[in-house]
């Protein structure tokens, strides 16, 4: 069985936020909730990099480990999903997640959280595939339609890759090989950059 993976090539990402827009539109994600975001490292400094991040669908997911109602499950494709019918909006998954993937809609006063929402790798949730109930709670189930996540499909520079981890790794490895001699390669500094 394939193990689904995201990979964002920081040498290609141009911070267009197309992935963010594609995701929000495809899944009708409510205002204030963002399943995917682009983070710029070293903003405004030479060498600035941007990288698109969402749920990374961890093998040993911290969110699932701390959930008091045990609402997370991993599909055969290695996609981490959760059951909104069980979620109580306690926020523990947000404390545990390294990537800040879990998001909450505002429910009431005092910052009470609604049910958690996060990237589903466009694989919906426990409700019947492509049913109205599934779309309302989890968004489109593109995986059930034989398609890959829309964020990656949408990416203008093909920085964001999504799919079977083996294929994604092959594509990225080939890119790295073709980039030989570029400044990011180890050794360039040693050979050509004068040491201070």
């Amino acid at each position: 069985m394939a193990r689904m993976k995201f990979l964002c090539d920081a040498e290609r990402c141009i911070e267009c936020n197309g992935c963010v827009v594609a995701c929000k539109n495809e899944h009708e994600v409510p205002w204030g909730v963002n399943r995917r975001r682009v983070v710029v490292l070293d903003d405004g400094v030479p060498g600035e990099k941007s990288i698109s991040v969402a749920c990374m669908h961890c093998t040993d997911a911290p969110c699932a480990a701390v959930c008091p109602v045990d609402c997370f499950y991993t599909t055969d494709d290695g996609i981490v999903l959760h059951d909104k019918d069980l979620c109580i909006g306690c926020g523990y998954c947000f404390y545990a997640c390294p990537f800040g993937a879990p998001q909450y809609p505002q429910k009431e006063a005092f910052g009470v959280r609604g049910k958690m929402d996060k990237c589903t790798f466009c694989a919906g949730g426990p409700a019947a595939d492509n049913s109205d109930a599934e779309y309302e709670k989890y968004g489109r189930n593109r995986i059930a339609e034989g398609k890959l996540p829309l964020c990656a499909e949408f990416c203008s520079t093909k920085a964001l890759l999504a799919g079977d981890g083996d294929l994604v790794a092959d594509i990225y490895r080939e890119r790295l090989t073709r980039r030989g001699g570029r400044p990011q390669q180890w050794g360039w500094d040693t050979a050509y950059v004068e040491k201070g």
Binding site: N34, V39, C67, D85, I88, F110
Partner: protein, 380 residues
């Protein structure tokens, strides 16, 4: 047997020396050779310090810094994301979905390990073990009865206001303990019993109750108790003697005590320290956006809250034991407000001496059987 026929004693000694030397060489070599790994590491370190470090991979170093959560991995860089959380209405603080500029924060893994493997595991065994210990203690020691029986004359120990504050706090403590334990242990204990759907309903109720009762009922109750009983809990001379005698837990001795004995004082000061820490962190957790808390703040608060709450429950079990089945006449002090004069003399002799002349004594009934003690005359 012709093997040694040509060997002179001299040659035989020489063979022995060679054999012995070979064995020693093998043993020493076998022990010393693996140690050359240290030599290799030492040399590598020396090489790295002497300029080798400049040859390390700058890209790997960059991403290592990013992975360590250093925002902006170059000297003067900061991170940024145009995708931010949603502002709270009427507040400058941002909504829950904040810290979007933070690419990766590994603290959550530490929190997960501490919560799931330390607090839940050891906390659970401490509570379970304490119940077992207390059952055994009760089986061996039994109830501490009134030595001279009831005198039938009672004296006021807790005012109506004190009892009101105590019981409001006590009931909310029970609600918080049951709901809090449900959220920590429910996944391992209640889900197998109730099923995930049933437990989810209970967990939602438990979380709502916990977040309402905690800040709005329990916190004022504890604050009032600390304020009104502080004066009774200041240390005094008799406390040392009380602790030397172990509070009379074992044996028949009754250490002298004021209005509150030293064990009760320890309970008070536990609440004034650990309990206050539990409440402060609880308020931080219950209002997740009020002060724009970060994830790291919430993780730390959760650890302190869970650990202090479990200790509090453990201490409370001792408090509830002595206040109910452990000691005759203690419960009625907090329910009716009055205690028997003999109870006061037995458990809080110095307090009774202080108030004996001024307090109002109420004659409730003649002592049962009439054999124990003369009815005390009521004093105005």
């Amino acid at each position: 047997m012709t093997r040694n026929r040509n060997l002179t004693p001299e040659r035989r000694r020489r063979y022995w020396r060679i054999t012995l030397a070979s064995v020693v060489l093998m043993v020493v070599g076998a022990m010393a050779l693996p140690l050359t790994g240290y030599l290799y590491v030492g040399l590598s370190d020396a090489y790295a310090q002497g300029g080798g470090a400049e040859d390390s991979n700058p890209r790997a170093n960059y991403w290592r810094a990013v992975r360590a959560g250093q925002a902006g991995s170059s000297a003067d860089g900061v991170n940024y994301s145009s995708v931010t959380g949603r502002p709270m209405p009427g507040s400058d603080a941002l909504w829950l979905n904040r810290e979007t500029e933070n690419l990766i924060n590994g603290d959550g893994q530490n929190w997960r390990q501490i919560r799931n493997r330390v607090i839940a595991v050891y906390g659970g065994w401490i509570l379970f073990g304490l119940i077992v210990v207390m059952l055994h203690f009760y089986a061996i020691r039994g109830r501490v009865n009134l030595e001279d029986g009831a005198s039938g004359v009672k004296v006021l120990r807790w005012t109506a206001w004190e009892r009101f504050v105590h019981w409001v706090t006590a009931v909310s403590f029970l609600v918080l303990a049951v709901t809090g334990l449900s959220l920590l242990f429910g996944r391992s204990i209640l889900i197998p019993l109730m099923g995930p759907e049933g437990f989810s309903v209970w967990a939602a109720i438990a979380m709502g109750l916990h977040e309402f009762v905690g800040p709005w009922i329990f916190t004022p109750g504890v604050a009032l108790m600390i304020a009104m009983w502080l004066i009774n809990n200041l240390p005094e001379k008799g406390d040392i003697e009380w602790w030397i005698k172990g509070g009379g837990i074992i044996g028949k001795s009754h250490p002298s005590s004021g209005r509150l004995n030293s064990g009760e004082k320890l309970w008070f000061w536990f609440i004034a320290t650990f309990g206050v820490a539990c409440i402060v962190t609880g308020v931080i957790l219950a209002f997740p956006v009020e002060w724009a808390q970060t994830r790291s703040t919430m993780q730390l608060s959760n650890v302190i809250h869970g650990a202090s709450a479990l200790l509090w429950i453990a201490f409370w079990m001792g408090h509830a034991y002595i206040g109910t089945i452990g000691s005759e006449g203690s419960l009625e002090a907090m329910t009716t407000g009055y205690v028997d004069v003999n109870w006061a003399k037995q458990h809080h002799d110095r307090w009774y001496e202080e108030i004996a002349d001024s307090a109002e004594h109420v004659t409730v009934q003649q002592p049962a059987g009439g054999a124990t003690g003369e009815p005390t005359t009521a004093k105005a």
